[in-house]
């Protein structure tokens, strides 16, 4: 594994000029993955339609991708990217991998190639679940990155299968008798393991070293698919204040909503920085209160500034705590799988 500081000095393939919201976790993730992939191997990204695509890959406006201000002389530092429809990114990556492998098998390829697929959770877990699971099932030697902001952000913050229970989205609005989203999210970490992934992780750049180490492990896999779910607080969809993205991602992980988790086939996994016992974790209210998508559950006490339940919503909050505990226990159980 490379050193954390050394990676920070590399050329990222993610460039300035995107129109992603300031503070968007997707941009932070791309910056980090962009540096990790500057490793002497030619990099190819595939990307499904998403915020991350429409905000970074424009013509004639800025294409926020590529290493350097001009195409590099060294092909191993060069970078290519292809966008296609929402669900397509894993399949695109698989096909690029296969072509590269065939060329390599024929002795016709004069550079090594690494392929990274990027999708949102709407693209990968709703319309693209078929694509994701079958590419994993076929053990394509690629790294799949799913940026989980728990909504269809690009189209206006609608519910996705990864939405946290009780969150308000534009299609699960809060009303007098409706406390937001009533559905538990898809167990996508378990699904990826069950489909045959070689490495499955849920980790954001808020855990900086762990994130980079995981990306490097994924890129170095000799076979099989790595799937990295990146919790991605969305400043516009989750409705929080400027400058809180990383802190919120950390709190979400520590409080048990999306714990940092890395698992590798044959080796098992580990939950990091999130205690199994609820009493040893930050209270979930500290995570909820910073986001207006949970305004109906928790608010700040005017006098103490501490988060308190909204009167009448105590039962909903208790149910969310129960779900969070099950979520943490589930990941601890998955970590035991080999």
């Amino acid at each position: 594994m490379s050193g954390y500081k050394e990676i920070a000095t590399r050329d990222s393939c993610f460039r300035p000029g995107s129109t992603l919201c300031p503070g968007c976790m997707e941009a932070t993730a791309f910056q980090n993955v962009g540096r990790a992939t500057d490793n002497g191997v030619k990099t190819i990204f595939t990307i499904g339609t998403s915020c991350a695509e429409v905000s970074t890959l424009a013509f004639p406006n800025v294409v926020a991708w590529g290493r350097g201000d001009a195409p590099p002389d060294d092909v191993t530092k060069s970078f290519s990217i292809i966008h296609n429809v929402f669900e397509s990114a894993p399949t695109l990556a698989e096909s690029v991998r296969d072509v590269a492998d065939i060329l390599e098998g024929a002795g016709a390829l004069r550079t090594r190639v690494q392929v990274v697929s990027a999708s949102g959770d709407g693209g990968a877990l709703a319309i693209g679940l078929r694509s994701l699971l079958h590419t994993v099932h076929r053990r394509a030697r690629i790294t799949v990155m799913v940026l989980v902001n728990e909504i269809f952000a690009n189209t206006g913050f609608q519910y996705s299968p990864a939405t946290t229970p009780f969150a308000e989205t534009s299609t699960t609005p809060v009303g007098p008798d409706v406390p937001g989203n009533l559905r538990a999210p898809l167990d996508y970490v378990h699904l990826a393991i069950a489909a045959g992934a070689e490495l499955v992780a849920q980790v954001s750049p808020a855990h900086g070293k762990l994130f980079l180490k995981t990306v490097e492990r994924a890129l170095a896999l000799p076979s099989g698919t790595a799937v990295i779910f990146v919790p991605a607080p969305c400043i516009s969809g989750w409705k929080f204040d400027d400058g809180e993205t990383v802190e919120l991602a950390l709190l979400g992980a520590q409080s048990g909503v999306f714990p940092a988790f890395v698992w590798e086939r044959g080796k098992g996994g580990k939950v990091t920085d999130c205690a199994k016992e609820a009493a040893e974790r930050p209270a979930i209210e500290t995570f909820l209160v910073r986001q207006r998508r949970f305004h109906h559950l928790v608010r700040r006490d005017r006098e103490t500034g501490q988060p308190v339940p909204v009167p009448g919503r105590e039962a909903d909050l208790a149910r969310l705590r129960e779900w969070t505990q099950r979520n943490v226990e589930r990941l601890y159980a998955l970590a035991e799988l080999k």
């Binding site: 060069s78 290519s80 096909s95 098998g105 024929a106 016709a108």
Partner: protein, 444 residues
Amino acid sequence: MIPEGTAPLPLLRVSTPSGERYDGVVDLEKVRAAHHALHTQRESLIADGNYAAALATLQMWRCVLYPGFPITPSTKWIETVAAKIAEHQPNIKRVKLLEAEHAVADYLAGAAAACRDLVFATATSSVGLDHMTETTRSLGASGLGNVLLIDVYRATANYPLCIEGDPSDTLAHRDDGFIQIACRGKQQIYDTLLQAPCLGMHPDILTPVMPGYYGIKDSHRNARLTVEPDHEIHAFQDRWIRPCPLPGLINGDTAFGNCTTSRWFQGFKIGQKKRMERALEVLPQIGADFERTFGRPGLAYFDAVGFGDDAPPDVAVVTMGPDFGTFEALRPAFEARTGLRAAGLALRLLSPFPREAVRRKLAGARVVLVLNQAHHQGRGHLTLDVADALFPLDQRPRLLSAFAGLGGADVSEATWEAMLDDARAALDGPPPPAYRFYHEGRRL
């Protein structure tokens, strides 16, 4: 080395920045050297259409990866490819069975963009093609002329489901952006597949090709097929296919599929249309070279019978597919019985539609009978195209639009006779209705 040939140099200029291309990253000669020849001399086989199409792609050294998903009646294409590759090991060619047709189309986009100098082929039918649609429309605009999407025609609907050959699938995809070529007969299927990448990958065209043939009638029925030796196929294709001037994902520093604004979108679409229309000029050149090389007719806008130089026909028939053969067989008897001159066009190039060539051929005919074999909301897909082609004429033929053979039903001799009788009646009678349905010699 890829030999110098007679292919024309590019005329159109790519007007958008496309990134950097790194020469030498992919050594195509190694791919060519790894090809396993299936035929070393010209041979005569008995084969069905799916076999003919599979064999043609297998004989191309540039075609090494075959994504697919089974659907009747195209399934045997991928089965044949898989069986042949399994027979001849070691082999760099691979079959990739995916989980759905949509995945196949996505896979084609990624693979074709990864290496623009290789050919990526698949076959599908009916709702399989429909399931691909979200990405076929991207492919059609992509500039990836190294995609071959073989459509084995089958009615597009599940209510009711019908597995026989009806070109409603390909005709519903006229606007996808593919060059669409219809075939009839096993030999034409094989020969068309060999020429298709030369057209699609031409540097002025860079447009994917959708060759097609009728399900069951041509996909599943056997006939004699002449196959050419692999090395001669390679020599022919190498005259036309040059290294793509644009970077691919592997040998480039580039971006595909960007977002753009409406102001710029229009420019992309104009470019797409220009490339497509350039196919009208290049297609006959490829066809002529094919005929010189192999001694059989090459790509053409249409097959024509009965058009002499002396006088135009009284009745001209326009249709596509193998049922045209029944008309060919009946034509002399019809002429003898009626004293009229009859001629016919079996369309090969559906998109872009060869308007001028069709107009020139039909000018002077008194009645044009257009047989449509696919459901259409109006007078018929082919009828509208023919009407558009004829519109500039001062003296327009009377147009008779017929529907027959829907769902792959046989267009029998009796049905042709009924349609031709109505065409004869239209010579001097009252204007015909907008369209008529026919089956087994009767109007429906």
